[in-house]
Symmetry: C2
Subunit: 206 residues, 2 copies
């Protein structure tokens, strides 16, 4: 069985399971059940058991899941045993907020470089990171062997920047620009666009 035999929708739920049990661990809890986890997440217990069973046997009937063990296993499955270095493209408000964001490190990622094309920003510091010239981005990313990037440019530049990231060897892109981007089959893209989420909810407003 290869990684691609497991449906993407199952993989997409694993980070939510991990987040929930890490929260339980922070609260001092040691054991959980698919029932409890399901109630926290609004997913059925059967769904959780079925998802996890694709990767092995993580709990015993009647005694539930050991949180520390399940957490370690989920991190291993999701390739989170180490910390992935990330590049941020775009040093505007969104890129700056991402550079400052403290929530990545504990979850397996850290921003180690940020690029912009604005000469007024190049060389300035955002948190611990100095803004670098986007003209040098492809080479710098390739040399650093960075595989993960976040695109926080205006929509007009997102595809061009993405093409450069792909050329540099990036395989996972989190795109904050409000536009669909195209990548080769061996590169993954996820999208964050708050207005899309808001519009989905406004449908239900009176």
């Amino acid at each position: 069985m290869t990684k691609h035999d497991i449906p993407g929708i199952v993989i997409g739920r694993l980070p939510l399971y991990l987040r929930a049990i890490q929260r339980m661990a922070q609260e001092g809890q040691r054991v959980t059940s698919s029932q409890e986890l399901g109630e926290r997440l609004g997913v059925s217990a059967a769904q959780i058991r079925k998802d996890l069973s694709q990767f092995g046997e993580f709990g015993k009937q009647g005694t539930g899941y050991n949180i520390k063990y399940l957490s370690a296993q989920l991190r291993r499955i999701l390739n989170l045993d180490g910390v992935w270095d990330m590049a941020i493209v775009g040093a505007g408000d969104v890129g700056s907020a991402l550079a400052h964001y403290q929530g990545f490190r504990d979850r397996g990622f850290q921003a180690t470089m940020i690029f912009d094309k604005d000469s007024g920003k190049i060389g300035t510091k955002i948190g611990a990171l100095a803004v670098q010239d986007i003209a040098n981005m492809t080479e710098i990313i390739r040399q650093a062997n960075i595989k993960v990037a976040m695109v926080a440019t205006p929509a007009d530049h997102a595809q061009e920047v993405t093409d450069q990231l792909v050329e540099a060897g990036v395989k996972a892109i989190l795109n904050y620009a409000p536009i669909q981007i195209t990548v080769p089959d061996d590169v993954r893209v996820e999208y964050i666009d708050p207005a899309t989420h808001l519009q989905k909810m406004s449908y239900y407003l009176e």
Copy 2:
């Protein structure tokens, strides 16, 4: 037929259709087809036709969709004829970035207030918004009849803040705190958590 008869997954795709055709309009395009739209979005043409057919007849066989008309209809369906005022809770890096973000207005939303509990932040300005004391939040939101809010507090405070927003009459919450929150049935929650998206992609990294 009520709003709730149409599956949430269909509603979730409408903002993506709207975003794509608004982009086409910006590029000067006047007409599109379900084929073209599908290629842009990585969705099948049949899916798009089926989704749109739930709401009426928006195109003619062979001539495609008039972009201006379809855009107006999607905005109407999604309740985006006006602009929804929003409250931001939390004036840290994420809340500040949201207060500065220019991408909401054109898409039907505007942040009109921001709250924090930190006395060092209360009264300071973030863009055009003065940070207000969270102690007064429920009353201020209720009086302003705000229905949409974004939660950008640490995880530990997200549920408490959510309860206050619900009490104040908010019906749509975009939660940036990395924790599942609980709301009554008549309130919608959407989540934005970049680490969850990154972890979904790291599964596929070598």
